[in-house]
Symmetry: C2
Subunit: 242 residues, 2 copies
Amino acid sequence: MRPQILLFGDSITQQSFRSGGWGAAVADIYSRKVDVVLRGYGGYNTRWALFLLHHIFPLVSATPPVAVTIFFGANDAALLGGTGKKQHVPVNEYKENLRRIVQHIKNLSRNTLVVLITPPPIDQQGRREFARSQYGDKASESPDRTNEVTGAYAEECVNLAKELGLPSINLWSKMQETEGWQKKFLSDGLHLTPEGNAVVSQEVVKIFDEAGFSDLPYDFPQHSEIDGENPEKAFLQQCAAV
Amino acid sequence: MRPQILLFGDSITQQSFRSGGWGAAVADIYSRKVDVVLRGYGGYNTRWALFLLHHIFPLVSATPPVAVTIFFGANDAALLGGTGKKQHVPVNEYKENLRRIVQHIKNLSRNTLVVLITPPPIDQQGRREFARSQYGDKASESPDRTNEVTGAYAEECVNLAKELGLPSINLWSKMQETEGWQKKFLSDGLHLTPEGNAVVSQEVVKIFDEAGFSDLPYDFPQHSEIDGENPEKAFLQQCAAV
């Protein structure tokens, strides 16, 4: 059994295996070392994520994941007055829901590396343009999300990581450090372009590598180690313990 | 437990989660329905793949994969006189090795859909250019692979699929139907460009869809089915059986 990394989140996780996606990039970087398990649920907030906890992370699991990324907040931060109001979760509840998710995973396995990722920033102009491209004149004039409100969720996500001593990625801040982040990193004011995906995979891999994941062994001999005349030798050496 | 699709092959499978890769595309298309498990081994031929069979497909597995793609031959077809001679496997042995792989998987589970994929065609000029870019004047003048020889392996792969009544993808033929396949589909005369990856994912998905994979259920409610006031309702309905 290879170690597993589980990606738990909303659409930004669900879509992370599209071309240029951050999840596929992580899977590629640790190929032959780790399996990446995709558990992304488009449109979900942390309140709904709680319903999935015992299904995705059963407490009787024989082999808990070595790492979990928890990447929610983009929907929790939807405004009560906008088209995503059903998804809205108050910021304090968001933080407590995240805490329950972390605690559940830590109950499963204290050694699992849990990484909290904040929602990305919001490009309100991009959201408006996207709404108009979808609904034309019928597009709502009130914003579904604002960058400022999403920023408050990002802050609580990072605060919780500090409280619990977990690594975190403040994507909301990080992306805004780059000139032109609005169009460079976001495709519709919210979801990620390939460049935006690259920011996530770089930050995630940085944390995983600090935890030693790049030193994990390959699951079978590299072909350069195989003697064409006596292939069994390399396999006997490396597969005996598998 | 979600159903699993396992991708078993050489570097063209191992690299299939790179940007634009066919494996990631399959994972994306069936996201929330199926887990795609990557078992690609760069440089491997079918002779070496046999050493992995019992590790990758243990006979005691409680949940065998619903589908397996078997995608070898690019290294088996390396010429005895070239730089990849260590990887060479005679074409008859290649066919019998493939047969053993299929039989092992079918012993594990008769219901597993096994798909045989032939190696892609070889662009010999592309191979020469690649060798020169790597080794300059020291690059070997004798080809490591030829399109004709690889074609013989592709033919035996398809023949075996017919004998065993399995679906197959003749990538060697399929790609050569397109004008300019040499540079359009191959990055170094052998490995796949994003366009080449797209050919594979389209053909694989065609077979999976014919087997009904697109009708597999989502693993949890779509967010549109969740009532914001009573979210538990959707989860009680859909998670009771999970």
